[in-house]
């Protein structure tokens, strides 16, 4: 061991004197072996000099040169060639033990020696270089592949930036940080690996990052801009714009060219990933905005329609009475006046619904629960809506001794009112509307059944969505707020509401409310 170390040191020393920075143990052994080979050739040449002749010994000296050239680089092979030529010249060529060369033709041989060493060494250098590059490229590809996989999995920006920083730090064995502009447009560190206190807080690095961000060029460590920065800053950019700055501080404060290449590739990949996320977000925002704009437009149309229809009937009736009172008889006047009353009632209902919706939406709706008798609520609702229900046969089916419920009376009344209006709206005149209540599985179940057109199968759930009816054709007035308000109120009471198409015809709306325990 000690001896091989000794030789290795010599090998390294030789490499060092040849100004070769990077030497492996293998290289050290090979250069020593080449020297041995030269020594062996010298020994054989001395022993058999008469038999071999001067020229052949020279040929033998080519062996270590070619060996060194093929296995090592151009400098090593030139070194061995020089050693060989010296040995040959001093030890074999007359005058022996003298550098002088008597026959100048031998100088041509020396030149050939050097050319062989140079050419072969160069070729071998090139090969080694290629091999090294291939290994480097493979490593780089692997790293980029890993990063790409990590980035494509990132669902949001936070995950993405931490992935970028993590991969960069691991790959380059460096501290890493990512700067991105915040809402105010100022750059700030959005992600950094844990050791990175320096880079994230140093003002020089922030300046370097800002410069890199605005100029889209690297700065900081190893560049000629902001040399005081601790890290190397590289822009994370797509073709259109710079999105962030990736900063790294290698552990040995030194970045190789290939590491810089790798870093730039990482930055490029990160830029693409960030751009992808931003585009996805923008697309989502645009879709949401479009949907909400459509909804707004539909809402305005519907509200103006719902307010203007009764308003129109009121105004036309009023203007008839005001301007041409004389031409109407008493019966016609009564009809006009009744029209005004109905229009006003309709507007009042609509405004109430709008207010309820606003309360529900804003979370302002406070329940005011009190002990209530569902029979009583149904009775009041029917009384309040008798004008509207006049054209239909209303049947109430309530068994004796239903439990009391603790609910907000006015809100449940609103639910029933909306369901009854729906039933009236969607069923023919003189048809039957059944309001029933029953206790089912410890819940109070209330149903409103009509004999109207029913519900399109598959729509049972959607009809409770706000403004659902706006999307469906038809000439029935209303915003489609009613059912959505019903759902809001019932769910606030801890109940459920659902619709069912009837087996024969018509539809049935049901809701349940929790029974508030036994009273007696």
């Amino acid at each position: 061991m000690g001896r091989s170390n000794y030789w290795r040191k010599i090998g390294r020393a030789i490499h060092a004197s040849l100004r070769i920075d990077y030497t492996t143990d293998q290289d050290s052994r090979l250069i020593i072996f080449s020297l041995f080979l030269t020594a062996a050739v010298t020994l054989i040449g001395k022993l058999y000099s008469d038999y071999l002749g001067l020229t052949n010994i020279g040929m033998l000296y080519l062996l270590p040169v070619i060996f060194a050239a093929s296995r090592l680089g151009v400098r090593q092979s030139l070194f061995i060639a020089l050693v060989s030529v010296l040995c040959w010249d001093v030890l074999f060529m007359p005058p022996i033990l003298n550098l002088a060369v008597s026959d100048t033709r031998h100088l041509i041989t020396f030149l050939v020696f050097m050319m062989v060493a140079y050419t072969t060494g160069n070729m071998s250098d090139l090969l080694r270089c290629r091999a090294q590059e291939a290994t480097q490229r493979e490593k780089q590809t692997r790293v980029l592949y890993e990063l790409a996989r990590g980035l494509s999995a990132a669902a949001d920006l936070d995950m993405l930036v931490s992935q970028v920083v993590k991969q960069t730090a691991e790959t380059l064995d460096a501290e890493a940080a990512l700067f991105m502009p915040g809402h105010n447009g100022e750059l700030r560190v959005v992600a950094a690996n844990k050791t990175l206190t320096d880079l994230a807080s140093s003002p020089n690095d922030l300046l370097a990052a800002q410069w890199t961000f605005s100029h889209s060029q690297p700065s900081g460590l190893g560049t000629d801009t902001f040399t005081g920065a601790r890290g190397y800053h590289v822009p994370v950019k797509t073709e259109e714009k710079t999105m962030a700055v990736l900063a790294v501080k290698p552990s040995n404060n030194l970045l190789e060219a290939e590491q810089i290449n790798l870093l730039q590739a990482l930055a490029g990949l990160s830029a693409l990933a960030i751009a992808r996320l931003e585009l996805a977000e923008e697309a989502h925002d645009v879709r949401t905005l479009e949907a909400s704009e459509r909804l707004q437009a539909a809402l305005f149309n519907s509200i103006s329609h719902d307010l203007k229809t009764p308003l129109t009937s009121i105004m036309s009736a009023v203007s008839s009475l005001v301007d041409d009172e004389a031409i109407y008889d008493e019966e016609q006047k009564a009809t006009l006046l009744n029209g005004i009353k109905l229009g006003a009632e309709r507007m009042n209902r609509f405004v109430n619904n709008l207010l309820d919706m606003a309360r529900l939406e804003s979370g302002y709706m406070k329940l005011n629960p009190d002990w209530s008798d569902i029979q009583d609520i149904i009775g009041v609702t029917l009384r309040e809506n008798q004008e509207i229900l006049k054209g239909h046969k209303v049947k109430v089916e309530i068994p004796d001794a239903l439990p009391l419920i603790k609910v907000d009376y006015a809100l449940i009344e609103q639910v029933l009112t909306n369901l009854l209006h729906n039933a009236v709206k969607y069923s023919p005149r003189h048809s039957e509307i059944i309001v029933s209540a029953a206790e089912v599985d410890g819940l109070l179940k209330v149903s409103v059944t009509d004999q109207g057109e029913g519900i399109t199968p598959g729509d049972e759930e959607f009809i409770f969505d706000k403004f659902y009816r706006l999307q469906s054709p038809g000439n029935v007035s209303g915003t489609g707020l009613g059912l959505s308000i019903c759902r809001g109120i019932i769910e606030a009471h801890g109940g459920t509401i659902w619709a069912a198409g009837q087996s024969e015809r018509g539809s049935r709306f049901n809701f349940t409310l929790p029974v508030a325990g036994d009273v007696f």
């Binding site: 005011n368 002990w371 009583d376 149904i378 009775g379 009041v380 109430v396 004796d400 009376y409």
Partner: protein
């Protein structure tokens, strides 16, 4: 001139319409647009009924009611908007006689005024009351519906008696609970619902759509008045 009605409301349009309606029904009309003016008018004009809007610009309507009640038992009918149940109950508890929710019809208001004036003129209990088919004789503890004797439990009878004494006027839950159980405890609220339900089953033709005892949601009950 008929009875004098004071309308305290900041809305000019409403005062104007009520003026037409009230004068057409033969009442004497005075008005006030603010709480301060309303109290002043109540003192100086000596109205027989006050119609008081709950939302006045300078003071709560409740405050006007409190000030008026300090020295006068003049009937006060509250005007409020939907959703102010709590304030309505508060107003009724500190002495308002009845309430109306905006928007209301003038005929409804006229009915409330008539009931208020009747109670004002004749506060003593009438022993015999006839409302449609419903016949009550409190001197004999007798209740009949369409000539048929109805048997009521003591609490049912007391309930009906209180409602009949206030016929046409709303009676709050709290008022009924206090009169029957002698307590303000609201846990009796559920018993009240059940007794009303039982009472209705005995006297109403269709308990699903009661015609005698009407529910005023969130406020109380009202036995309809014989006009």
């Amino acid at each position: 001139m008929g009875a004098k009605i004071l309308v305290i409301d900041d809305e000019l349009e409403i005062r104007r319409l009520l003026k037409i309606g009230l004068i057409a029904h033969g009442y004497d009309f005075t008005e006030a647009a603010t709480a301060k003016e309303g109290v002043y008018q109540a003192v100086t004009a000596r109205p027989d009924v006050i119609i008081l809007d709950m939302g006045l610009p300078d003071q709560e309507g409740l405050e006007v009611l409190r000030q008026v009640r300090e020295w006068s038992q003049v009937p006060v009918i509250i005007l409020s908007v939907r959703g102010q149940d709590h304030e309505k109950v508060q107003a009724l508890d500190i002495g308002a006689d009845d309430y109306l929710t905006k928007p209301f019809s003038v005929s409804e208001l006229m009915a409330r005024i008539r009931v208020a004036l009747r109670h004002q003129a004749n506060v003593k209990d009438e022993p015999v009351v006839q409302i449609g088919d419903l016949f009550l004789d409190f001197s004999r503890r007798l209740v009949k519906v369409a000539e048929t004797d109805i048997h009521l439990t003591p609490i049912e009878y007391d309930l009906l008696k209180i409602l009949a004494a206030n016929a046409g006027k709303v009676v709050t839950h709290r008022h009924l609970i206090k009169a029957i159980w002698g307590t303000e405890a609201q846990e009796h609220s559920q018993y009240l619902r059940i007794y009303i339900s039982q009472l209705r089953k005995k006297i109403e033709k269709d308990p699903n759509q009661p015609g005698f005892i009407l529910t005023e949601p969130g406020i109380g009950y009202r036995l309809i008045a014989m006009e």
